[in-house]
Assembly symmetry: C2
Homo-oligomer: 326 residues x 2
């Protein structure tokens, strides 16, 4: 058996964050060392409580949860109750947590775990990047201590979702995103280009409901709110993008991107209509993306669009194909 | 017969500008009232001389040519000899012009013709938008005097070509582009999303060479330089995008776009990596682009990719299908 990977998941739980956590908890080869939370889908405290609710549902209240940034460094925080419900988790009947978050701030926890396990920690960031940028300020050597960073965020050839140009996680803290992308560590970015192609449907929801476990009853239920948003604002149909779970699956090597060039990538931190846009140099798209000297980010532009089946198989406890790729 | 359309062509001639002019000159239903030039593919004076060379080749030295902006208002001008050759026109043996540009500055000429023909002039802008923005400053009522503006420029879901985010015409003067897009007149934007799908090939070049007229000998010859650039920097093959001719064909109604939503469109005028990006709100792409209150630009995202055949038919003097659409 391959050695366990230690992941720190930085998230803003959030419906799809919850799906990502449940997906990861179902993999015996992955060890979640801690979950840190940040404003985004909901406020950072609620995100921590939601994370605890999900961990307790999965019987994993042993995993430490730490609260992080309440806003970006400009003091702004764009929350998304219209997407994730007023409690950030679809307003289901999931009980309040019995456990409490750690007293250690998120960025300090990230730095501590990285120092304790030099070279052995992977970061999965599925919310705004304020905690990771703060951790980089606290420990400038963090890039040498961390093995890999996977980020759900950005939009390259796909339109944004927070604004015409910008995806919500990056738009919520463009300055932090620029710091994280430029830090010199190996980064995989999973933007809307990939996640908007991986769609969970009502058929998946029915499978989850029929399975009837506490986890699948919750995920089936929470998808109602998510489908409501996607039907109303995005697709005109009841299906939803697997943003955060896809990034999780890529982080642990369950999904091999179909197209993921390593390219020079920056973030627009100006005040104009492009604020928060991820500017990735994909001009080489007609020539197989020739190597770039300044390339700093692996950008996942396409996956094979079968991930929702894998996600639902995992949540239903079905036997899975052997498909780990990294 | 439909009444003649009066077009003012604002250009930076340029290989594909030359193709656009020759395409338009082959249409008996289109009257080019004047050609104004701007820096871009080459400097504004050379663009005027190149325009005269092309007009004389086609026996149309009667059309007035006027020189416009030498740089944008920041004093910058990014020319493109690596694309268009050191003379801006593929370094062929086309003779120097016998005629000379008008003494009237481009922006003044645009304003004068619009005042003389209120509501009857169409603008086709296939270079940086400095002349149009200057004309708007000279005559704030210009939007009421002009019937329509068609612009080759921008990149929406397609990467830029001047930078990862920005297309060259818009990148060369983002401030002017913002002024022109916001002026409140009907604007059709033909960005790289459309033009990079309309590819002229070596087969087309052979047809032009075999036709053997002065015009087709020149166009076949000038394509050598264009193919050199596209093979080396873009496609790895000898084919080239019909940027400016496609915009010309759309301006006169020869090509009906397959997908052209009217959407809110702005330009990034900041100093960051997105400078010159056209930020068009195409987030409604999954729902048939629902109507937007602030929509200001018709953005051509797709055409049917058969335009190069029409272009070469026209240049070869072949009978054309009846396909005018507007």
């Amino acid at each position: 058996m391959a050695p366990k990977q230690t992941l720190i998941v930085d998230c803003d739980t959030g419906i799809d964050d919850a799906l990502a956590l449940l997906y990861l908890l179902g993999d015996p080869g992955v060890e979640i060392g801690a979950v840190t939370t940040v404003f985004g889908n909901t406020d950072a405290e609620t995100a921590a409580l939601n994370t605890l609710r999900v961990l307790e549902l999965a019987g994993r209240a042993d995993i430490p949860v730490s609260v992080g940034a309440r806003s970006n460094w400009c003091g702004d925080a764009h929350l998304a109750p219209h997407v994730h419900g007023s409690d950030g988790l679809g307003d289901t009947d999931l009980p309040a947590p019995a456990t409490a978050p750690s007293a250690e701030p998120a960025a300090e926890l990230i730095v501590r775990l990285a120092r304790q396990n030099p070279g052995a920690v992977r970061l999965l960031a599925i919310g705004p990047l304020t905690n990771l940028a703060t951790a980089l300020l606290l420990e400038p050597d963090l890039p040498e201590l961390v093995e890999h960073v996977t980020i759900m965020g950005g939009a390259v050839r796909h339109p944004g979702n927070a604004t015409p140009a910008a995806e919500a996680n990056i738009h919520n803290d463009p300055e932090a995103a620029r710091i994280v992308l430029r830090a010199g560590w190996p980064v995989t970015l999973v933007p809307l280009d990939a996640t908007m192609g991986e769609l969970i449907t009502e058929q998946h929801q029915r499978r989850l409901a029929e399975r009837g476990s506490p986890t699948t009853r919750f995920t089936s239920s929470v998808l109602e709110q998510y489908f409501d948003f996607y039907e109303r604002d995005i697709f005109g149909e009841r299906r939803a993008a697997c943003h955060d779970p896809l990034a999780a699956a890529i982080a642990v090597g369950d999904v091999a991107p179909v197209l993921a060039p390593v390219v020079s990538t920056d973030v627009d931190t100006g005040d104009g209509p492009g604020r928060g846009a991820t500017v990735a140099d994909v001009r080489g798209q007609y020539r197989g993306f020739p190597e770039q000297q300044e390339a700093n980010v692996r950008v996942v532009l396409e996956t094979d669009r079968t991930f929702p089946d894998l996600l639902v198989d995992r949540l239903c406890g079905a036997p899975e194909p052997t498909r780990r790729v990294a």
